[in-house]
Amino acid sequence: MVWKVIALNSLLAAIYAFSVEKLPYITLVVTFIGVALRVMRWRSSPPDHEKIRMDPVESVKYVLLDVVLFRKTWRTDKAMWLALFLFHGSVAGIVFGHMRGFHIWSIHMFEAFGHAFAEFMVHTLPIYVGYVFIVTQVYFLVRRVMLENKQLTSMPNDYIALVLLLLKSIAGQGMRLVPPEGVPATLYNVVFIPRFVVLHLETIPNSHWFHIHIILTQLFIMYVPFSKFIHIITGVIAPAIYGSRRKEIDR
């Protein structure tokens, strides 16, 4: 029995070490190859009949209206608009929050508004944002299942991407809710890619939640170019083309 526990712990330790030391490089390479393959797939298709001349003003206008404000979804489905707005808002918040760990900004940015406010912004608010993120994803997943074979037919990657994102979000939230393993005297550094990607944490998080979170996150990043999450890039390009090209619209 004891040797089984030792073996399991050794295996976990190896996986966890791999997830921090090796997986980031694999993630980088796979993501790069994935994006390159996508671009090659598009480049190998014929261009449009007419040359698309990008209009910077119209592009920005339609990106703001359709990507930032979800204008079309507002017109179509108010519940979905709210879910999309909260989901993308929480994504922005979570990405911004993670930047503190990578020393792109610090708690001092909010200190000007008082210590309590700064504490709220970096410790309390992220927990609520995490819940919003998870709840909206569950809504998307349930909606998809309900509409399946009625109003839409999903492809496997529609579900894989959503489930992967949901699992990594749950792991991330779990990490916040489970008590940390310790509070180091100085910052706890996790070196993914020396000098380039180093995470600085104030507490040592629960090892299991933390490693599950970073493994799933890296799998998710690798999967982006192969999934509908490619819209992180194309979702900006398409409305910019729409704005530049839709000369039919009364302006």
């Binding site: 298709s45 009949h49 109003q151 839409l152 398409a238 704005g243 009364d250």
Partner: protein, 409 residues
């Protein structure tokens, strides 16, 4: 057979442009477009949902162009695949409403036309639509009627003669659905009468007018559309025409937005829809009419409003024609299609009538006495709906209403 189909499929699917492949790759099948789709709303058949069509197209594309599918998936395209794609592609009015619901702004009306082109390449075009292509080849119109009958509408109206000039400032491009369909002859008469009333230096092309190419374009035959574009533009330019007026929303859209693409240059004349011309002559005072007391509701033709950008002109004109203009809830760029577009009539007339019934019912509920539009296909759909479904409302083209107020119709 299957090997040949697959060879053709690879070449044909390769016609998706890089923008369209990007759109297909990005479409998350979120179904936000579905509730707004007039065809899906009537049938509730998933095959008719725009997002499902997009999923079907990308699956077929991946079978030929995705290395992962080539390695691990099924790569064979079957006749059943083509049948389903055809069923989906032709149960669509090409109204473009899915484009206006799509969060990413995919230009779906172009995507669906491309899918129809692929369906045509793979021999899946519905028989009635294929027949239409043959009639176009033989008679330069989709109704299979002799080109010399193009001006028959003149004989059926009080207009005894109309100008067929060698040179003119303005040309009236009648369009096949107006010229050959009896229900629309009064529309042609109204436009001709208004041009005479304003004393415009105008002409028609007569037998020299060919189909604008819209039916060819939307059934996937770009080559024929290009041939027609070349002919019509040459016929108009050789007459020194500076302004072309058409009462057909389809002709208008194709002249304005498709001809430059097909020809690789802008024609040397301005294209106006008759409602824009009507607005101009009413606002400038060149045409004077008394407005009616009847309540008039305006239906935006999809090809004129959402796909053509002409939204305010008919409303401005209507202010001179009625004291009580009414609006549908879904209007302008967000208009709900009447069912008259996309060759749906040739494939599923019952669905077309179901779609138009919804619109007619709403017009009645709004308390309208007259329902006006600005497209011969819309007028045909509405008059068929009134006749077949027994909904009592007067249906007119906006130009007919103007001619009535002028006292010539």
């Amino acid at each position: 057979m299957t090997a040949e189909l697959n060879k053709k499929a690879k070449a044909s699917l390769g016609k998706f442009t890089r923008r369209q492949v990007m759109e297909l790759d990005t479409c998350a099948h979120c179904a936000l477009c579905t509730e707004n789709c007039p065809a899906y709303n009537e049938s509730k058949d998933p095959l008719h949902a725009p997002g499902v069509r997009s999923a079907m197209a990308v699956k077929l594309y991946d079978k030929k162009y995705n290395f992962l599918t080539k390695l691990f998936g099924k790569t064979e395209i079957t006749e059943k695949d083509v049948e389903e794609l055809s069923e989906s592609a032709y149960h669509c009015t090409l109204c473009g409403r899915c484009m206006e619901s799509c969060p990413f702004g995919f230009q779906t009306h172009e995507l669906w036309s491309r899918i129809r082109e692929i369906v045509a390449d793979l021999g899946g075009t519905p028989i009635n639509v294929a027949r239409l292509g043959k009639m176009l080849d033989e008679n330069m119109n989709p109704y299979g009627l002799d080109p010399d009958e193009r001006l028959d509408w003149v004989d059926y109206t009080d207009l005894h003669e109309i100008p067929e000039e060698e040179q003119a400032e303005v040309a009236y491009f009648v369009g096949c659905t107006t010229a050959f369909k009896g229900a629309n002859h009064d529309v042609a008469f109204s436009i001709a009468s208004i041009l005479n009333e304003v004393k415009e230096d105008w002409t028609v092309l007569g037998e020299d007018e060919w189909c604008c190419g819209n039916p060819s374009l939307i059934s996937g035959d770009e080559h024929t559309a290009m041939e027609y574009a070349l002919h019509n533009v040459e016929a108009l330019e050789s007459r020194g025409v500076k302004k072309v007026i058409t009462g057909c929303a389809g002709c208008y859209r194709v002249f304005r937005f498709e001809y430059p693409k097909l020809l690789g240059r802008e024609p040397k004349f301005e294209i106006l829809h008759a409602v824009e011309y009507l607005r101009d002559v009413l606002v400038s005072g060149r045409l004077k009419v008394e407005p009616t007391d009847e309540k008039v509701i305006y239906h935006d033709p999809c090809e004129l409003s959402r796909l053509g950008g002409v939204i305010e002109a008919p409303r401005e004109a209507l202010k001179y024609l009625t004291k009580e203009p009414l609006e549908f809830d879904e209007n302008g760029i967000d208009v709900r299609c009447c069912g008259g577009g996309g060759l749906l009539q040739a494939v599923n007339n019952e669905m077309r009538l179901d779609i138009v019934t919804r619109r007619l019912t709403e017009a009645k509920e709004k308390g309208a006495d007259i329902l006006v539009s600005a497209c011969p296909a819309c007028k045909l759909a509405f008059t068929d709906g009134v006749r077949e479904r027994g909904i009592e409302i007067e249906v007119l083209d906006l130009l007919e209403l103007a001619a009535k107020r002028l006292g010539v119709l």
